[in-house]
């Protein structure tokens, strides 16, 4: 095994076709951005699965802390008045 630093990890996002958002599809190792893009093309779009690729160093992604999942997301849990079904509209008004 060589003593070189680990080859950096990149996250790959692909837009399958125009009209759709880029979507996370996996990760790969590459020394720099150019190689990461080329590797992403070879690994994730061998069958025309993409029109556009984003790669981003995994270390640059800021993620919510899984240990804070409850405190972070729970405040939305009891706000049922944010949903349309919270409000009573008589049936004879029709679809709203």
């Amino acid at each position: 095994m060589t003593d070189t630093a680990q080859t950096p990890l990149w996250e790959v996002f692909i837009r399958p076709r125009n009209g759709l958002a880029h979507r996370h599809c996996g990760s790969l190792h590459a020394a720099d951005a150019t190689m990461a893009l080329q590797a992403a093309r070879d690994v994730y779009t061998r069958r025309e699965e993409g029109q556009s690729i984003w790669v981003i160093p995994s270390s640059e992604i800021v993620a919510s802390d899984p240990n804070d999942k409850e405190t972070f997301f729970d405040p939305a849990g009891d706000k049922i008045y944010r949903h349309p079904t919270f409000y009573d509209i008589p049936d004879d008004v029709g679809h709203m």
Binding site: M1, T2, T4, A5, Q6, T7, L9, E11, H24, C25, G26, S27, L28, H29, A30, A31, D32, M35, D42, V43, R46, R47, P57, S58, S59, I61, A63, D65, P66, N67
Partner: protein
């Protein structure tokens, strides 16, 4: 397939009975487990072992077929074989990145493969002696792999399940190109058909061994089933494979090398299925323990590829570092 880069978590969890029960309840409710979720150490370890072995199998699995790329008889067959071998490399990469989400590094997995510590599928330790083997491998080996992999698309660990969905989408072409190759040999000269039969004779039993030891001897099955990493037992999958494949061999006009193969209408809850002969488990364990015909060559080939690629990896990293420094200088200048 989230990366280890997103894993800031402390891998240790206090495995109280309450924690284990809550984890099992999530699994039982068909919830997916994602990389950052707390999980029992044994769940993590089982997945690292299984996904790692699976990734190694894809990578080592490129070797027996790569052996024939330059000798493919037509351009059509050559492009198909190249594309298939390239896919297997891709499968290895999807799987390595799924394993990495559990906190194991690519370097550590590579090291385990090269040192012989990690296992890979026993099937790839058999030699590819004739062109017909390219047909038999696609048909039988990829066919068996599909049987194994389809249920893994519903595995409880999210990144593994997502990797398997990609893999399964790509596998179908592998099996079809192999079977088509067998058809053309079987429609060819007597010598070509004999080559196809010889290939089936050599690959049949090793293909059945791909499903792993019999349920009565399998060490990992029960807990993996409870964790929904495994959805069917080795013997169930093996039976499905035999039942699906016999008809395909009949269609080719080839005979399966098993005198005990016989239709049994009471099998599979009365739907019928094939009884088949005993598997040579001594051979299986010999190959698993490193004494198959090609174990040494496979690892030697992987080591050579790794060592001869070292300067490329080093040069790419050095170039990236230099570019970074030049950009930094331009910014400060």
């Amino acid at each position: 397939m989230y990366s280890q880069g997103l894993n800031g978590q402390n891998l240790d969890v206090n495995e109280t009975p309450e924690f284990l029960a809550a984890f099992q309840a999530r699994i039982d409710a068909d919830e997916k487990i994602e990389p950052n979720d707390p999980m029992p150490a044994a769940y993590r370890k089982t997945l690292i072992r299984q996904i790692g072995q699976h990734a190694h199998s894809e990578i080592v699995g490129m070797l027996p077929e790569a052996n024939w790329i330059t000798r493919a008889p037509t351009l059509r067959r050559k492009t198909a074989l190249l594309a298939k071998v390239q896919d297997e490399g891709g499968h290895g990469l999807y799987l390595y990145s799924a394993a990495e989400t559990l906190g194991v590094s690519r370097e550590a997995m590579t090291e385990e493969l090269l040192s012989g510590k990690a296992k890979y599928s026993s099937i790839f330790n058999y030699p590819t002696l004739s062109w017909a083997d390219m047909g038999a491998i696609g048909w039988l080996v990829d066919g068996a792999a599909i049987m194994n992999q389809v249920p893994l698309c519903r595995c409880s660990y999210g990144p593994y399940a997502r990797a398997m969905i990609r893999v399964c989408k790509e596998e179908s072409f592998h099996q079809r190109q192999g079977y088509e190759l067998m058809i053309s040999l079987c429609n060819g000269t007597a010598a070509q058909k004999a080559m196809a039969q010889d290939s089936l004779n050599r690959w049949w039993w090793p293909s059945l061994m791909m499903f792993g030891p019999s349920d009565s001897d399998s060490q990992h099955s029960d807990q993996s089933t409870a964790w929904k990493i495994k959805r069917f037992t080795n013997d169930e999958l093996r039976q499905k494979f035999v039942d699906a494949t016999v008809k395909q061999a009949d269609h080719l006009g080839l005979s399966i090398p098993d005198p005990d193969l016989v239709w049994n209408e009471t099998k599979n809850d009365g739907q019928g299925g094939y009884d088949f002969g005993d598997i040579d488990w001594d051979e299986f364990w010999k190959v698993v323990k490193g004494h198959g015909p090609m174990n040494k060559d496979r690892i030697a080939a992987r080591k050579q590829a790794w060592e001869e690629g070292a300067w490329v990896r080093e040069a790419a990293l050095a170039y990236a570092e230099k570019q970074k420094q030049q950009t930094a200088q331009q910014v400060t200048a």
